[in-house]
């Protein structure tokens, strides 16, 4: 029998490319990050009923459909000028908190873990989840899978489906939560809180107590002073589901705070000739090139950015960890890109605590789950925090509610300019004249980019955290001298 061996290429036409260019002295002169973009989605939506958007939009992305579903649902609330009921808001936030638990836990153990637990220059064959489990134990691996399964159950129970939830409607949700399922959700939330605390302990033991890693986190190579963006509640505390978008400057001072419908007053998009994807920036600061600092409109929207942009966490245990992080890293804001991993774990704890609060809320099983819209639709904007950054959906319809125009700014896109800065600076700090370019060394550049939890090509089936990326290094003549492919 002939054995067929398949030689798969990436299922997407494109893949991420990092190109590093050296000068005559062998130093890094420039570095570019190219992200593939699946185009045509906005056009695809034109002419369709606005009510279909929560179902269609979440199919953009195989990794965070819940974020697109809720951003679209909130845009419909705004479009139809209808305020969801209190119970509906809480059910939406409960589902969304469960989603954050699964997503952030997966990122830490699958994506960040291999670099820190196995070491950034360990062989690629070991620098993966299997290597992590080999080192920290099978029980932790089982716990990760269990956490994901339990929270997927919550998403399925509240959202109506395991993938692609169907519960978001303008003015509310389609389904109540039963007392039996509330009790089970509460138990899962309790376990989630313990799992998050355990994960923070692992981070402390393996990263913070390891001088080499801590020095790497704090090094200038992985540091940028930028503006920071995140959704905050009425007390300026981190909120994933609702609130206003707050931006702080590189000194931590509030720069602007805006409602979703004001996003175009605050953001513009820069087009560069070498990439299809646009670079959002702060309109009131302006685009001044790929530089950081107060004069650059480049901002970041990441877990660390959300913590920097807020005055604290809305739950007690997460607040303790928040204070500990800033006390350890020298106060707010923290500019160290790799500290994003720490912030992500604090958000994991916040999400689990918020799940617990909501599952114990007397309103959560209430029957009042929807206000019926009665207004004629015109225009609506909805914003949530996706795990990877602030997610904006904007729809304009005709009087029948058919989409005339839609615009999206997705999580990773917010960070495109900052990721480009980060890659260039990491390359400049790591590659010098005479440096032998190894896979491990290129991984040290790549890991800076991975801290953003980038989600390229919003329709891949990629396991979160494992991204198709190619890193190439060119000499001053433009000749390729080394490359690493991860696909």
């Amino acid at each position: 029998m002939t054995k067929i061996m398949i030689n798969p290429i990436t299922r997407l036409e494109g893949h991420g490319k990092i190109a590093i260019f050296l000068d005559d002295d062998g130093e890094v002169s420039n570095a570019y990050l190219q992200i593939p973009e699946l185009r045509g989605f906005e056009k695809f939506c034109e002419g369709r009923p606005a009510e279909d958007m929560p179902q269609i939009m979440q199919r953009i992305c195989g990794v965070c459909p819940e974020a697109h579903h809720l951003a679209a649902t909130k845009a419909l609330d705004n479009l139809f000028k209808v305020e969801p009921t209190s119970t509906a808001k809480k059910l939406r936030e409960l589902l969304y908190s469960a989603f954050f638990v699964t997503d952030h836990a997966t990122h830490f153990y699958i994506l960040a873990g291999p670099d820190f637990i196995m070491g950034p220059e360990s062989p690629p064959a070991e620098r993966n989840i299997l290597g992590v489990i080999g080192k920290v134990g099978v029980e932790i691996g089982k716990k990760v899978i269990q956490t994901r399964q339990q929270n997927h159950w919550v998403i399925q129970t509240i959202g109506g489906r395991g993938i692609h939830p169907v519960f978001g409607l303008p003015g509310g949700v389609s389904k109540m939560l039963s007392e039996e399922n509330r009790v089970k959700t509460e138990e899962i939330a309790l376990q989630g809180v313990e799992f998050a605390r355990f994960s923070l302990k692992i981070f402390e033991d393996l990263v913070l107590k390891n001088k080499e890693y801590l020095d790497m986190v704090l090094s200038d190579t992985y540091t940028h002073r930028t503006y920071y963006m995140g959704l905050v509640d009425e007390n300026n505390k981190v909120n994933f589901y609702d609130g206003k978008v707050r931006v702080v400057d590189p000194n931590g001072k509030e720069f602007t705070k805006y409602s979703p419908s004001e996003y175009l007053d605050n953001l513009s998009e820069r087009v560069e000739p070498w990439t299809y994807l646009k670079f959002p920036y702060l309109k009131k600061v302006g685009w001044n090139g790929f530089i950081d600092g107060e004069t650059s409109g480049i901002y970041r929207a990441t877990p660390l950015s959300r913590l920097n942009a807020a005055d604290g966490m809305a739950t007690p245990l997460a607040q303790e960890e928040y204070e500990k992080m800033y006390a350890t890293l020298g106060g707010k804001p923290v500019h160290h890109t790799l500290a994003t991993h720490w912030a992500r774990l604090i958000e994991l704890l916040f999400a689990a605590e918020r799940m617990l609060e909501l599952s114990r809320d007397p309103e959560i099983t209430g029957p009042d789950i929807r206000n019926i819209p009665t207004e004629t639709p015109v225009e609506g904007v909805g914003i949530v925090e996706a795990p990877r950054g602030t997610l904006t959906h904007h729809y304009i319809t005709d009087e029948k509610g058919l989409i005339k125009k839609c615009n999206l700014i997705v999580g990773t896109t917010n960070n495109y300019a900052a990721m480009s800065l980060t890659i260039k600076k990491a390359a400049q700090g790591i590659i010098h004249k005479g440096t032998e370019i190894t896979e491990g060394l290129l991984n040290r550049i790549e890991l800076a980019w991975r801290a953003y939890d980038p989600c390229m090509g919003c329709a891949t089936h990629t396991l979160p955290g494992e991204l198709p990326i190619e890193i190439s290094v060119y000499d001053a003549d433009g000749t390729l001298i080394d490359s690493v492919k991860r696909f």
């Binding site: 054995k3 067929i4 061996m5 398949i6 030689n7 798969p8 290429i9 990436t10 299922r11 997407l12 036409e13 494109g14 893949h15 699946l38 045509g40 989605f41 056009k43 695809f44 269609i56 199919r59 195989g62 990794v63 459909p65 997966t106 699958i110 690629p124 064959a125 993966n128 989840i129 299997l130 489990i133 080999g134 099978v138 691996g141 089982k142 899978i145 994901r148 399964q149 997927h152 993938i163 692609h164 329709a459 891949t460 089936h461 990629t462 396991l463 979160p464 494992e466 991204l467 198709p468 990326i469 991860r486 696909f487």
Partner: protein, 160 residues
Amino acid sequence: MDKTLVLGIGNSVLCDDGVGIRVAAEVGKRISDPAITIAEACQGGLFLLEAFLGYDHVVLIDAIQTKGGTPGQVYDLQPENFISALHLSSPHQVDFSTALELGKTLGLPMPSSIDIVAVEAGDVTTFREKFTPEVENAIPVAVEMVMRKCPAHTNYIRED
């Protein structure tokens, strides 16, 4: 009673990317058996691992792009066909292999057999709900191949 999962994976609004979901749905129209679950997924990796748990047999249906492949070609594959790429960070197949390895390492209740029916895709970058003609024509072939993977249940095929 052995439990079988027929799982279509893909994006149903991204042209040929969604062919696995369509084939699974077509199979679902032909089979009515409590021992067979028809499902769809939009992610690979750990999600697939979790979806597989508790099933004895899995038939995974997906789009694939191979070097020099002809759109519409239907492949009958096993997980071993992808093992050579284990530990690299491919967005699709390798994650699948790593996920299976992870399931075994953790001692999870993994299926005893996994079949993969893959359809060579022509276009996986255009948002549209129709397949390319080559892939549309390949759907009956893929459906038949999936049906043959469930031989114990062919008695339940409905006459359309």
